[in-house]
């Protein structure tokens, strides 16, 4: 296999965007092409989840490649639920590593806010099993809530720990111009004060409003290239050194130990093995905190902390910027926002900035190895990536 480098990166603001989906995908791609100093690519992958259903657009990739005037480059959409983004990067990785293409553009877009909040919730709920979960009114927050309840009972995680994740990620998002939520929150305001129940009502008990990611529109892009191309461009060398993917049962109730996220464990182990590093070597990580509990659980399954001890590390401040292993420096899904199909690429975008030393106020000092975990369904399809700074 050939080595694969990230040579360009771009992102839109994550918020409510009032322009067409194809432009949400094309805009960050344009920025990434400028960043890389390229005008042509061999192939385009577009990560997206809901175009046909939410935005009345199918064949999104054809629209994007033409908007960017990149024809006749090949183009296709990669859909893998909320893990579409990292899946598209993985597909681009395969194309370059195999020698099929030299330069591949991986962009992404989601425009969830074209529909109302309840319809968006229903759309995301279609990820669950159609006959054994969806018909009951199961939503992703409800699956996360039932998981949280078990986690609390088994490991002593409390609502305070969950709120600490939210506070940390909101603080990080204040340092990220492109984040959806620029809103300082405090434990007092969302948990302790008499108004907390109004500020922070239950969505699915025990998860509250500030335990759940916002519904966002947005897009992000990275450009992958072979070593030969990457070394000609005058950019810091960031290599996509490891990819891993694993699946788990579609129905959450079928898992032998319902507090385990085996797909995260498997995907992370594969990615670390391929990159030849250990979780202890990672300087900065992007985890899929669609719900605050997931940041804690994934930090354990990825191997940064022992199972059941993620919340203790959080308490000690080890996951803050400046801590032992800063997690979700751009605000995470919690505060940067979660345009489902675009999230995996946005995570990679943040790691690329961090490893290049371009993350400004939220820069992790001397970051050389970065990790992303993109979590599809309720942990039934997970893609993990490891990035390395090489020069």
């Amino acid at each position: 296999m050939r080595e694969v480098y990230v040579v360009g990166a771009g992102i839109t603001s994550f918020t409510r965007l009032e322009y067409p989906l194809s432009e949400i995908a094309a805009y960050p791609a344009m920025l990434a092409l400028k960043d890389a100093g390229l005008s042509k690519v061999d192939h385009v992958y577009v990560a997206n989840m809901g175009a046909a259903r939410l935005n009345h657009q199918s064949g999104l990739a054809s629209a994007v490649v033409d908007t960017l005037s990149l024809t006749p480059a090949g183009a296709e959409v990669i859909e893998n639920g909320p893990a579409s983004g990292a899946s598209a990067i993985k597909t681009g990785f395969l194309a370059v590593a195999s020698g099929l293409h030299d330069v591949v553009l991986v962009t992404s877009a989601e425009r969830l806010r074209e529909v109302n909040n309840l319809e968006a919730t229903d759309f995301v709920a279609t990820l669950s099993h159609p006959l054994a979960e969806y018909i009951y009114g199961v939503t992703l927050p409800s699956l996360a809530a039932m998981f949280t309840r078990l986690y609390m009972q088994k490991y002593g995680v409390t609502e305070r720990h969950l709120a600490m994740v939210a506070v940390k990620n909101h603080d990080n998002a204040l340092l990220n111009f492109f984040a959806h939520l620029h809103e300082k929150i405090t434990l007092e305001g969302i948990l302790d004060s008499p108004e907390a129940m109004t500020n922070n009502p239950y969505v699915a008990e025990p998860l509250r409003f500030f335990d759940c990611c916002p519904v966002s529109d947005g897009g992000a892009c990275v450009i992958l290239a072979s070593a030969e191309v990457a070394k000609k461009l005058k950019k810091p060398l960031v290599r996509l050194a490891g990819v891993g993917q694993a699946t788990d049962s579609h129905c959450v109730h079928e898992r032998a130990e319902p507090t385990d996220l085996l797909a995260v464990r498997g995907a992370a182990a594969q990615a670390f093995k391929m990159a030849g590093v250990t979780p202890g070597d990672v300087d900065v990580a992007e985890l899929h905190d669609a719900f605050t509990i997931l940041e804690i659980a994934e930090s354990e399954e990825a191997g940064f902390f022992k199972k059941g001890q993620g919340h203790l590390a959080l308490e000690r401040g080890e996951t803050r910027i400046g801590g032992k292993i800063p997690i979700n420096t751009a605000g995470g899904l919690k505060a940067r926002g979660h345009p489902t199909g675009a999230t995996g690429v946005a995570q990679a975008h943040e790691i690329v900035l961090q490893l290049r030393g371009e993350a400004k106020k939220r820069q992790v000092k001397d970051a050389r190895i970065g990790f992303t975990c993109n979590f599809g369904g309720f942990g039934n399809n997970v893609v993990c990536l490891v990035f390395k700074r090489e020069d």
Binding site: T121, A125, Y136, G137, P141, S142, M146, L150, A204, E254
Partner: protein
């Protein structure tokens, strides 16, 4: 006639599956339609639960109880709860009822009451 939710038993090794699978997860048996349907038991204990306040548009209620139940034969199922104060491990008993109605469709599923 009482309504049932069915599990699928592999004709070769006897492994039970819920929900349906085309290939047995234990022995890998993959002959077409080589599964027997077996009604799931209706009594069990509550594994975990939640109350959802933000429901899809098909549900005309303010909130809804959901839970996962371990049934008497050790199999698990996700279902709706009509239990005022759910607790870990409490005994529950299920009924098959309409759980979701849209314009042209009715979906039947397991609803659990205190057992």
């Amino acid at each position: 006639m009482a309504l049932e939710i069915y599990a699928y038993r592999c004709k070769k090794c006897g492994q039970l599956h819920y929900p349906f699978r085309m290939v047995c997860k234990k022995c890998g048996q993959n002959e077409v339609f080589e599964f027997d349907t077996v009604p799931l038991p209706k009594k069990g204990k509550l594994l975990t639960f939640t109350t959802v306040h933000n429901l899809p548009p098909d549900f005309n209620v303010a909130k809804l109880g959901l839970g996962m139940v371990e049934l008497e034969n050790g199999m698990r199922i996700t279902g709706q709860l009509k239990i005022p104060h759910p607790k870990f491990g409490m005994a529950v008993a299920g009924e098959v009822e309409i759980v979701r109605e849209a314009e042209y469709s009715k979906n039947y599923g397991m609803v659990f009451y205190p057992g």
